[in-house]
């Protein structure tokens, strides 16, 4: 079951579920953003793991090396990292604005304030 070659994917699944659980279960908005980050990182890890070839080197032509890792998924993840940074920055700036508007970043307290507003 626990094959050595597949262990990166077990880590991916663990990180993914951790991230998703943090996003769902935490009321603190900053913690939610952290959870979101862990979730995104798991997918980055997934791509990096799939591109790695056992015994392969960096894909640079040199004498004596014939097995290379696949560089494409790694390059794709550069873009995904940029996307993740942009998302985090936007999320945190929203959290700052929410803190200014509600004087709290706890979701349950915000919901309470919104309910009072509606009543």
């Amino acid at each position: 079951m626990f094959e050595g070659g597949l262990y990166p994917y077990w880590i991916v699944i663990f990180l993914m579920m951790t991230g998703l659980y943090v996003v769902i279960s935490r009321d603190n908005l900053v913690k939610k953003v952290i959870g979101l980050n862990i979730f995104q990182v798991s997918v980055i890890m997934f791509y990096v793991a799939m591109g790695k070839v056992r015994g392969g080197t960096a894909p640079i032509e040199a004498e004596g090396f014939t097995i290379y890792s696949n560089p494409l998924p790694h390059v794709l993840m550069l873009t995904a990292i940029v996307v993740g940074v942009a998302t985090t920055a936007l999320a945190l700036s929203l959290v700052v604005r929410i803190n200014e508007a509600y004087a709290t970043i706890e979701e349950d307290e915000i919901r309470e304030l919104e309910r009072e507003e509606e009543a």
Binding site: L36, Y47, T79, V83, A86, A91, L94, R97
Partner: protein, 503 residues
């Protein structure tokens, strides 16, 4: 015209697919630099209408000479990134750019009220960025590129929603951001799994490789991930919870824009992956996607409409109605037949027109009344006759009354259901339309048969800058309800193409 000029024109028009993305992207930066509200609007207007014109040219070219393939930077597909325009995405591109242009035309007066003037140039920059992302998702032929453009459009739409006047806009935007990012990441994961199986990112190439591999566990999980990812962006019931808040608290212009474009492009992405990557036999035959989507679609049709009936805020009511209408589109997909998919695609076209029209009416009402609560509509039928008449026309279309576009799409959905031997589904489509009748009627009743309160301030008709776009869209709901050759013709040709039936 000299030879050189003609040569330049052909070269530019050959590059139209790339310009469709590059021009709005660069113009967004220009909007930031000009800093003046009206100047930025003028830039955005030129770009948006130019994009629409270019989408029309591309569509006519696709109709004339078939699929356009454009190798970005001269790198040949499947290695380089390909922009690939066929009947399906030419139609979606036409809808997206058309709605972008019309809503942008209506925006200045409404924005003056809802967004600080110093921020207008940034608003238009975000608007153009969002348009870049949506157009990019539509025309790209590369799976990873879809993710990148999805994030461009999503990030800018989170920022657009956060511009709303109340602090609820901020929490709604963050809620959408969290869900949207989870959706985008699931899409990325799904694309990664297909890449694992096929070793390619080019959509056309993926289809070839996948057909050779056949169904296995990885492909199944990839389909599930892509289904969840696009499902969140598309707001398929029960993944729709971000939508009502986001649409309610965003500035009215943003709602009109996003309601008609963002979910439609997500629907397109789902259709593209299901048919062009996995292929109908695999997705419906082996993996039974239809069995998952159909109950959800029917639940959306009823739950969305039912909740809409009890809303006091009409903007929120229309948001829940969107959840129901998305249900119809997904139902069209899940019928897994040419006429069903035709219904879904026609509804994409039609719903974009009527919902953007209805949300622009909300923009006009907010502008004059300062609120979209049901009470604010009292007596508006007499006080804003043209605006409310447009609401009635678009509302009739939402219900699906003959001679409007809503009837056309429901007709094809019902035909698709009956062809598939699913009589109960056809009945459910008709029943859920009655719910739409109830929620539209509530507004019409208040607007036309209830007197405004004694101390109500004088209200004048909406300004022409809003009224003209509203009536263009309301007119379009009737026009395309009568002359269906463009919408239905294209949608059925696209559906037959996706099912691989001879044209």
């Amino acid at each position: 015209m000299t030879g050189g000029e003609a040569d330049l024109i052909t070269r530019v028009s050959d590059d139209l697919p790339a310009l469709q993305i590059a021009v709005p992207l660069l113009s967004a930066a220009i909007c930031l630099l000009v800093r003046r509200a009206r100047a930025a609007w003028a830039v955005a207007m030129v770009v948006a209408w130019g994009s629409f014109a270019s989408a029309c040219v591309l569509l006519s070219r696709v109709l004339q000479s078939g699929t356009i393939s454009y190798a970005e930077g001269g790198w040949r597909p499947p290695w380089g990134i390909e922009l690939r325009i066929d009947l399906l995405n030419a139609l979606v591109l036409l809808v997206v750019t058309g709605i972008c242009a019309i809503v942008l035309t209506a925006s200045p007066r409404s924005l003056d009220q809802e967004v600080w003037r110093e921020h207008h140039h940034k608003f238009y920059a975000l608007y153009l960025l969002c348009m870049t992302g949506l157009a990019g998702m539509t025309i790209t032929g590369d799976a990873f590129n879809i993710f990148v453009f999805l994030e461009i459009s999503s990030l800018s739409s989170y920022a657009l929603i956060a511009q709303g006047t109340t602090r609820r806009a901020l929490t709604s935007s963050l809620q959408y951001l969290v869900m949207g990012t989870i959706g985008g990441t699931f899409l990325l994961l799904g694309i990664g799994m297909i890449y694992m199986v096929t070793g390619t990112l080019n959509i056309a190439d993926m289809a070839v490789q996948l057909a050779a591999v056949g169904p296995n566990r990885t492909v199944l999980v990839a389909l599930a991930c892509i289904g969840i990812g696009t499902g969140i962006k598309l707001a398929v019931f029960p993944l729709h919870i971000w939508l009502p808040n986001a649409y309610t608290y965003a500035p009215a212009i943003v709602t009109a824009f996003l309601a008609a474009t963002a979910t439609k492009v997500a629907y397109y992405v789902l259709v593209r992956f299901v048919f062009s990557v996995f292929g109908a036999p695999l997705a419906f035959g082996e993996l039974r996607l239809d069995a998952v989507l159909m109950p959800l679609a029917i639940a959306a049709m009823f739950a969305g409409s039912f909740v809409a009936i009890f809303q006091d805020d009409i903007k929120r009511m229309l948001a829940y109605s969107s959840v129901a209408q998305i249900g119809y589109m997904v139902l069209g997909l899940s019928l897994a037949s040419v006429s069903g998919l035709t219904g879904g695609l026609v509804h994409l076209f039609n719903h974009a027109i009527m919902k953007s029209g209805l949300f622009l009416v909300m923009a006009a009402v907010v502008l004059r009344m300062g609120s979209t609560r049901l009470d604010a509509f009292a007596g508006l039928g007499r006080r804003m006759p043209f605006t409310m008449a447009a609401f009635v026309v678009a509302g009739l279309s939402l219900i699906g009354v003959p001679l409007t576009v809503g009837f056309v799409s429901k007709w094809y959905l019902v035909v698709g259901a009956i062809e598939g031997g699913l009589w109960p589904v056809a009945v459910l489509i008709l029943l859920s339309s009655l719910l739409a009748l109830i929620y539209i009627w509530r507004v019409v009743e208040v607007a036309y048969f209830r007197q405004p309160p004694e101390d109500a301030p004088e209200v004048s008709e909406a300004p022409a800058s809003l009224l003209v776009p509203i009536w263009v869209l309301a007119g379009a709901t009737v026009f395309f309800g009568v002359f269906t050759s463009l919408s239905v013709g294209l949608a059925s040709a696209a559906a037959r193409m996706l099912f691989g039936v001879e044209l």
